[in-house]
Amino acid sequence: MKNIFKQTGLLVLILLFSVTSSTEVNAQTNDQEFTYVKVEVKGLACPFCAYGLEKKLKDVDGVTTIKIDVEEGLAYLTVLKSKKPLKETLEKIVIDAGFTPSSIVFSKKPFTLKDEN
């Protein structure tokens, strides 16, 4: 009987541990749900260009926000991590929008935008 109690207690402990771990995993998933992308673009000079690029980038699967910095020639994307786009996909979109991509940087943390300084 004592052994049964011991085994049940152990089982309860294991279950509790697994539930706690699972919550932590979920919490980590929430924290790391997004991928942040900074696209540097040459020739992003006018609002028609900037908002044209914004229009094209909106079609990227999993994009939740887009911010364009016309003066700096930068586009910032927040994308669902599960749908992280390929660099080549983004390059093609930038080219199709009429621009030349300079660099595309992926980050686990949000980029600091100029107007957020």
């Binding site: 006018c46 609002p47 028609f48 908002y51 044209g52 229009k55 909106k58 009429g98």
Partner: protein, 270 residues
Amino acid sequence: MISFFIGLLVISGCSENKKKKQEATNWKFSKEIPLGNISPIGIVAQGNFLWLSDVDNNRIVKIDLDGKIIESFDGFQRPMHIAIQEDKIYVPEYTSDTVKIIENGNISTLAQKENTDAIAGIAVDENTVAVADFYNHRIILQQEDKVTILGKEGHNDGELYYPTDVEISNDLIYVADAYNNRVQVFDFSGKYVRMIGWNENIKVATGVKVTDTQVIIADFEGNRVLIYDLNGNLLQIVSGKFNQPTDIEIVSNKMYVVNYNGKSIAVYNK
């Protein structure tokens, strides 16, 4: 000797005509209207008020001549060059590829017969609507059930490269052929008529306004406004007060030029 004097008279007459023409097109800076946080693209006049598309803030605003906002309509998706007819404000939405109409405070949607990719400008003349289809490098002319396509991607006569604005005047279509650095003129059948602005090295021909006698072009990167007669002869170049001009409106001998980056309107008197 007689022919010499006749020649002198002719030259003198021409010179006088030229002087009159120049006097008639001598736009002089009057004042600047600051716009606060409005980032204007398009402008139209309605009585003593001006309507602006505020692209960064996704809204259309009606201002008085001091720049004070009288009315604001929010929720547009990157509104660009607007048009007005009979108190209806036509608003092309760059992102949604639709044209919205503001009338007496209500907003409706224009029925379009052709798909577009980024509408940068619109012109309306009675039952004719022309839209600048930016990414498809063309103008779509819609006359009730009839649709005519003007231009195609390219750099030759009659071809377009990222058109951003369009005007209808006297049965002709004037297109701000932005990245071909010129304005091109078509008839209603889509036939190329003429080119304006090629000799002046325009950097980006973003906006166009046509009056009974003049064609006015906003040079976005050149920070200039260029004024031509209807045949494309240069009459005047205005500069010095512009910071990325995008559009022009002319009312009662006053010219209003919107500065996108300057967040202001430069006012000129004739």
